[in-house]
């Protein structure tokens, strides 16, 4: 299965891409995906001010949802506003 990661704001610069497709065996959770990323990026994504959305719905802080094929996980740093 494949999940899509989306990086907003300065997280995009850090990741080097705006979106990334991550192939998984299945059965993994969010924490597993983060563990597979380069350390500095994973640390930034785990930052206390970074919010997460799974398929367009915001997750509660600390949530570690199971992932399914085609899921989209967005990493949202503090907004700079309109």
């Amino acid at each position: 299965m494949v999940v899509k990661l989306v990086f907003l704001g300065r997280l995009e610069d850090l990741a080097g891409v705006g979106e990334m497709a991550v192939p998984l065996d299945g059965g993994q959770r969010l924490a597993d995906v983060l563990a597979g990323l380069p350390g500095p990026l994973a640390d930034a994504l785990r930052g206390p001010k970074v919010k997460l959305a799974l398929n367009g719905a915001l997750l509660s802080p600390g949530a570690d949802p199971a992932l399914a094929d085609g899921d989209e996980l967005a990493f949202l740093p503090p907004v700079s506003g309109g």
């Binding site: 907003l8 959305a53 989209e72 907004v79 506003g81 309109g82």
Partner: protein, 155 residues
């Protein structure tokens, strides 16, 4: 009455939008509009901004703007509400955001436009970067934005 809420990825003509909105507001005595545009000159002691870019996350940004419009409609007696917001790259002088609120009583229109702007500025799903001296840099949230927002809490 539904609100007209749009996310635009190309330049828009603010005066034409205000005119069309105002003409549709036959029942309203007053139309308050706020237009935010990319500044042409720099602030004192600041570098000139050559371009501004707003990124958004489509699954959240427009739904968030629609929820904000719904909140304003529920809170004040309005005859019309419009919220337009640019995304993408903008040049100095380009409109960024336009909020128009129409009401029978102008106090409602002023409050709704002010409320919408405070929330767009601090809570909406936009990430902003500026090009200065040929280099792009991300803009951090401003503490004032959160102070502005607190004006509406518990009111």
């Amino acid at each position: 009455m539904g609100a007209d809420v749009r996310l635009l990825d190309a330049p828009f003509v603010a005066e034409a939008e205000i005119g069309a909105f105002a003409r549709a507001q036959g029942a309203a005595g007053g139309v308050v509009s706020f237009l935010g545009q990319v500044r042409v000159d720099a602030g004192a002691g600041k570098a000139v901004v050559e371009a501004l870019e707003l990124r958004h996350y489509p699954p959240l940004t427009l739904p968030g703007m629609r929820a904000l419009a719904g909140e304003a409609l529920a809170r004040w007696q309005l005859t019309g509400l419009m919220i337009l917001h640019r995304t993408g790259e903008m040049l100095p002088g380009d409109p960024i955001v336009l909020v128009c609120a129409a009401a029978r009583h102008r106090r409602d229109a002023f409050a709704a436009a002010d409320f919408a702007m405070d929330h767009l500025k601090s809570e909406s799903w936009f990430w902003k970067r500026e090009k200065v001296g040929g280099q792009w840099r991300w803009i951090e949230p401003r503490p004032e934005d959160h102070a502005d927002l607190s004006r509406w809490q518990g009111a």
